[in-house]
Subunit: 144 residues, 2 copies
DNA sequence: ACAAATTACCCACTTTTACCCACTAAGCGC
DNA sequence: GCGCTTAGTGGGTAAAAGTGGGTAATTTGT
């Protein structure tokens, strides 16, 4: 289970260091270090899936009629961007330019746990998102 | 059951000493010293949960539709910030910079019991909150 | 097929964290 | 009051995490 929020720096080569706690979860709960990274279609961030979770997502998409316009759009945005990454000995992956651009990533990068996936954000974008999420919750009557 | 208010100092390394009475409650009522600390979304403080109480919260959140905007905001602010902490031999935990910043913590830190969780405040912020809470209660018709 | 660019892999360094030990101050009983 | 216990605090050290960079392998383009 991915939880917690970590900030790491992308280096000049475009390599991203997956936070150690997330690597632990991958190893312990999924028995392999590989992740799939794809666009998150509704926010300007990337989402990382353990292989198993990604397959589950594919199955769900496959169950829907393939002429559904939403399904088509989903395939074009998310599935097309998805790629497998094998972290190096230091636990880093090289994210391609297109995805970096999509998430507006430059250097400081936030990794945010999201139960069975985790999100990858540019630090500034993450802060902005956080501020607006907090504002939204401010007036809510939360019962948990 | 967490009750009472205690003030401890965060040291230069960012370590926070959990007040002994709270550690006792964790050990006696929950049989383990581990806590989850996360943002409190509506006030500038952190909230510490025994594992069992945290799981209860997760269950409540999971029972709500995941496309609910409030639920999404809650996940991004609270769940993402949640992390497990294992106090050291002296009963201290190291709180990361992001959470310290969120709660405006510098040195003097207040721990306030809140039945099945407890709150962690910067001492100054706690005083301000206390004043306004008292003001709110002034005109109320309390029947307990 | 060859040169240039990109990527993967490895090694080394720096910073941070976890763990342990020790000291001080505050209560408590005798 | 004196010694004991317990809570709180400070700091050293070894391991782990994060970061930077070199080089070989691979890919790409011509």
């Amino acid at each position: 289970m991915f939880q917690g929020e970590y900030t790491n720096n992308m280096d000049d080569k475009g390599r991203l260091n997956i936070p150690a706690p997330f690597r632990d979860v991958l190893q312990r709960n999924y028995n392999e270090p590989t992740i799939i990274v794809a666009r998150d279609p509704q926010t300007a961030c990337l989402r990382a899936y353990p292989l198993q979770e990604w397959k589950r997502l594919l199955a769900k998409v496959g169950a829907r009629p393939s002429n559904d316009r939403v399904v088509q759009a989903f395939k074009r945005t998310v599935i097309s961007s998805a790629q497998e990454y094998h972290p190096d000995k230091q636990g880093r992956v090289l994210i391609p330019q297109t995805l970096r651009t999509y998430a507006g990533m430059s250097k400081a990068t936030v990794f945010a746990g999201s139960v069975n996936t985790f999100e990858i954000w540019d630090a500034k974008a993450w802060d902005a998102q956080l501020t607006s999420s907090l504002a939204l919750l401010q007036d809510q009557d939360l019962d948990f």
